[in-house]
């Protein structure tokens, strides 16, 4: 082990402790010791934890767990075939599929939720256009709708993880199977287990993302009287006076819930190697689809986008085009005029672009390092790291934000001159901490496929340690890293709970400015701002992917080109 590596590992764990563990621990400890942070009189109590197992909290928690399982399942069932069709066939329009996935990802989850509500609610758009379908209202405004929305949101995670893995899986394995007489299904059966790291990683991340989602919990689930744990946690924090201890108790159970997918993942991967990506990996040959299969495939993919993007897009855009709270179908651009006439929009927009870029850049580096550790031989420390990262994905952003206040606003820190609460520094640290786990989990599928021989070959040819990585490994991972950067950027660009609690006074990010309008009765203006923000985020995604296409060497794109921009 080199000296750098010897120094690097403790530094890595120190950063995990400072960024993730300490804030989360400061929040979660309140479940048993409210007095520690002046939130009650008890130094030790189990009453809050006991409370979670009874009444509304228990119901909400149970709902969250089964809904997250179902959502992860939908993510896999829909996301895997789409990734396969895009990566392995001549599916028409496949170049637009990846861009569409980014669009699904960058929409804050409350937006599709409101779109669906607007469509199917009693006297909603569906009824106004003459479709008297109460059964649709009952289906969407209930557990089915909640599972559907969270499942649709899981699809891009599965798609990204699987498509990157498929790209790394050259043609030779399928060719070998076909040469030995296997049917297409047989070849798929051979290849599917090799994709296990990506699949299990996708399932785990989908579960954690769904269980920690707040956008759907606070809109469609709330309106459907279907309580979820994150809403329960939010209600505890948002009540007055807030019950941080009650919220922390729910947080403990959310953290514990991710142990289930992690255990399943560990069981699936035990003792096997999935490194298939080497310098000899051959690019894939696309299989032409028969006419009928092509129609079915296009219908399947289009149906997904119609449900995931068409409906919420209609909801958001229609809300932004109505000036009168939706009393008529009279279309007006007055809300957009207000947005562009307002001098207060450019500042938050610029800030969120900068915060998103900084956070994404820091997170991709950290995420890659963590993913590399997770992809290596499983030891106790990597297992612990794996659990910590996924557990922190399961915690809603508001927990991070409150934890950061408790951890970094201690009087003792102020006395020694560390006063970072309500500064941009702490806000960006909060963003990084909340993005890092998801980022690492998304990258682990691609990183675990890189054979160590690539690095060793470069070293054998005289490259230095860093040079070997830059010239031997980075080209293959350049596209997944670009995608991970975009994933973080788009997530932070419209992030709300952390921004609300940690932003530096006088410097509001975009989401806070939008929320300010939505909360101050300027519903249409707020929706118009949200639409403009989504368009800007989309343009950024297009610029980054276009830049990669133009600037990256052809070899980089070919080796890492599982996903198309």
């Amino acid at each position: 082990m080199t000296r750098l590596a010897q120094l690097g590992r403790p530094l890595l764990w120190l950063s995990i402790v400072l960024l993730i563990l300490a804030p989360c621990a400061c929040f979660l400890v309140l479940a048993v010791s409210p007095r520690l942070f002046d939130q009650g009189s008890q130094w030790f109590t189990l009453s809050y934890l006991r409370g979670v197992f009874t009444g509304a909290s228990a119901t909400a928690l149970l709902n969250s767990i089964w809904v997250a399982c179902a959502a992860a399942g939908i993510g896999l069932v829909v996301g895997f075939p789409i990734a396969w069709l895009v990566g392995r066939t001549d599916l028409p329009g496949r170049r637009f599929v990846a861009a569409g996935m980014w669009f699904v990802l960058l929409l804050p989850s409350w937006l599709p939720s409101l779109g669906w509500q607007r469509l199917v609610q009693p006297d909603g758009v569906m009824y106004r256009v003459g479709l008297d379908w109460p059964f649709v209202t009952h289906a969407i405004m209930g557990p089915f709708g909640v599972v559907l929305l969270l499942g649709l949101r899981s699809v891009p995670f599965t798609y990204l993880a699987v498509s990157v893995a498929l790209a790394g899986l050259g043609q030779e394995l399928e060719d070998a199977a076909r040469t030995h007489g296997a049917t297409r299904t047989g070849a798929l059966r051979l290849v599917a287990p090799i994709l296990a790291p990506a699949i299990t990683s996708a399932l785990a991340i989908c579960f954690a993302e769904a269980v920690s989602d707040f956008g759907v919990a606070s809109t469609l689930a709330y309106a459907s009287h279907f309580p979820l744990a994150t809403y329960q946690l939010y209600a505890d924090i948002n009540g007055f006076p807030p019950s941080f201890s009650g919220a922390a108790a729910v947080g403990w159970l959310l953290v514990a819930s991710v142990a289930v997918p992690l255990a399943l993942q560990a069981r699936a991967l035990r003792g096997r190697s999935y490194a298939v990506l080497s310098g000899r990996t051959r690019p894939v040959a696309r299989r032409p689809l028969a006419r009928q299969a092509k129609v079915l495939a296009v219908g399947f993919v289009s149906g997904f986008y119609l449900v995931a993007l068409g409906v919420p897009g209609f909801g958001a855009v229609s809300a932004s085009l109505l000036a009168d709270f939706g009393a008529s179908f009279h279309v007006t651009f007055v809300n957009y005029q207000k947005v562009f006439a307002s001098s207060g929009l450019s500042g938050p927009l610029e800030r969120s672009l900068v915060y998103g870029a900084i956070t994404a850049s820091v997170t991709v580096v950290g995420g890659f390092v963590f993913a590399t550790m997770l992809a290596k031989k499983r030891t106790k420390s990597t297992k612990l790291l794996d659990f910590l990262l996924l557990a922190s994905v399961a915690l809603p952003g508001v927990v991070f934000a409150a934890g950061y206040i408790f951890a970094y606003n201690l009087p003792v820190l102020s006395r020694i001159g560390i006063d970072i609460y309500q500064t941009v520094t702490l806000l960006v640290l909060g963003y990084v901490a909340s993005s890092l786990p998801t980022n690492a989990r998304v990258l682990v599928g691609a990183v675990s496929q890189v054979q160590r021989s690539l690095h060793e070959a470069a070293r054998a040819h005289g490259a230095s340690g860093a040079g070997a990585w830059v010239r031997g490994v980075f080209p293959i991972l350049s596209r997944p890293l670009t995608m991970a950067w975009l994933l973080t950027f788009t997530g932070i660009f419209l992030e709300l709970p952390i921004s609300q609690l940690l932003y530096a006074p006088g410097s509001p990010p975009l989401s806070v400015a939008i929320q300010d309008n939505l909360g101050n009765y300027h519903f249409g203006t707020g929706m118009a701002q949200a639409v403009v923000a989504v368009v800007i985020a989309l343009v950024t995604v297009a610029l980054v992917l276009g830049g990669y296409r133009l600037l990256a060497p052809v070899g980089w794109r070919r080796m890492g080109g599982g996903t198309r921009g």
Partner: protein, 347 residues
């Protein structure tokens, strides 16, 4: 750099002496020797940006504005209460201030020397731990006049089959101004259990509960409901943009003061600046900014000062019976009442 604080002090003193910008006030003058510090304002008001900018411009005191919803602001204050970073809080609802006051988080004993009108006098707390700056009404009734030519005139009429499935309101757990409405009804009906019975009957009659004013008014606009019980400023703002909507107050309607509280643990200098700010808000200049800062939203308030008229869009309060709830009685019940509402009315 040393010139700026000195200039600020000079301007502050000059403004205070002139009496034109700041009315007679109990605000202690900013000490001549003290350096100006940034005043950190936590606010959920739609006109706060305009007001803080005007204040900074006039007194050369820098203001750092945390413009957020009431919920996150109170969460920040509670989470950071052993090392607070705020200087002044400006939100709607006396119960929140009473809750902070009983925890000794607010500076007591400050009252600007202004000519309160009857609304203002009723909103000033005995220990002077917060300062009312305006009043809206909790549970104002917005209705679609095209579909409802004869709206209900009493609260009990809302329970009749005539209005089945036509009434909507907000969830007090998510909408700050809604708890005073719920508490006001309980107070009017002489007890929590009587109030619970009222809301249970309202639910049985098809009450629609949305999280906040926006979605409830959107439901009214789309025709999902025909009557919305929301904060008066939201109702009037909606009626200004949708001419088919009208606003009426059912008797009694509960007063919802917007108020300013000052951090008890802030530095002396910041407390002085906060007092200066509160006095400025209640000055003619400050009231003008308040009424112009968010003309279709929070600016639609009833002033608490003699000589300041409300905006023309506001319905007259003559003939309307208003009631104040005791925030020190109803504040501590907020979590209990909201939990009951969530479990029995929302679910």
């Amino acid at each position: 750099m040393a010139l700026a604080p000195a200039l600020a002090v000079a301007v502050t003193a000059a403004a205070a002496l002139s009496g034109a910008a700041t009315p007679a006030s109990a605000a202690r003058p900013v000490a001549a020797h003290a350096a100006v510090v940034p005043l950190v304002v936590y606010s959920a008001q739609g006109y706060d940006k305009a007001e803080t900018q005007a204040f900074s411009k006039q007194f050369h005191i820098p203001v750092e504005l945390d413009d957020n919803s009431t919920g996150p602001l109170l969460t920040q204050i509670e989470a950071s209460k052993n090392n607070p970073k705020w200087g002044l809080l400006w939100v709607d609802g006396a119960t929140a201030f009473a809750g902070l006051d009983v925890q000794h988080l607010l500076l007591r004993g400050f009252e600007p020397k202004v000519a309160w009108n009857s609304l203002g006098k009723r909103a000033v707390p005995a220990d002077k731990s917060y300062v009312p700056t305006g009043v809206t009404l909790a549970g104002a009734m917005a209705y679609n006049a095209a579909k409802v030519p004869n709206p209900p005139t009493t609260w009990s009429q809302l329970l009749s089959p005539t209005w089945k499935g036509q009434v909507g309101t907000n969830d007090p757990s998510q909408s700050g101004p809604t708890y005073p409405f719920v508490a006001g009804m309980m107070s009017y009906l002489h007890g929590v259990s009587q109030g619970e019975r009222f809301f249970s009957k309202l639910k049985a009659n098809g009450l629609l509960v949305n999280p906040t004013n926006g979605p409830t008014l959107a439901a009214l606009g789309s025709g999902q409901i025909n009557i919305a019980l929301v904060q008066s400023s939201a109702a009037i703002g909606a009626a200004m943009s949708d001419k088919s909507l009208k606003v009426r107050y059912l008797n009694p309607v509960t007063i919802l003061p917007s108020a300013i509280g000052i951090d008890a643990k802030a530095s002396k200098q910041e407390q002085l600046e906060a007092e200066q700010f509160a006095s400025y808000v209640l000055s003619p200049a400050g009231q003008k900014v308040m009424q112009g800062g968010d003309p279709t939203g929070d600016s639609l308030y009833y002033p608490v000062l003699d000589g300041v008229a409300p905006l023309k869009a506001l319905p007259s309060l003559s003939g309307v019976s208003t009631q104040n709830i005791n925030p020190y009685v109803w504040g501590p019940k907020e979590n209990m009442v909201n939990s009951w509402f969530d479990q029995n009315i929302v679910q």
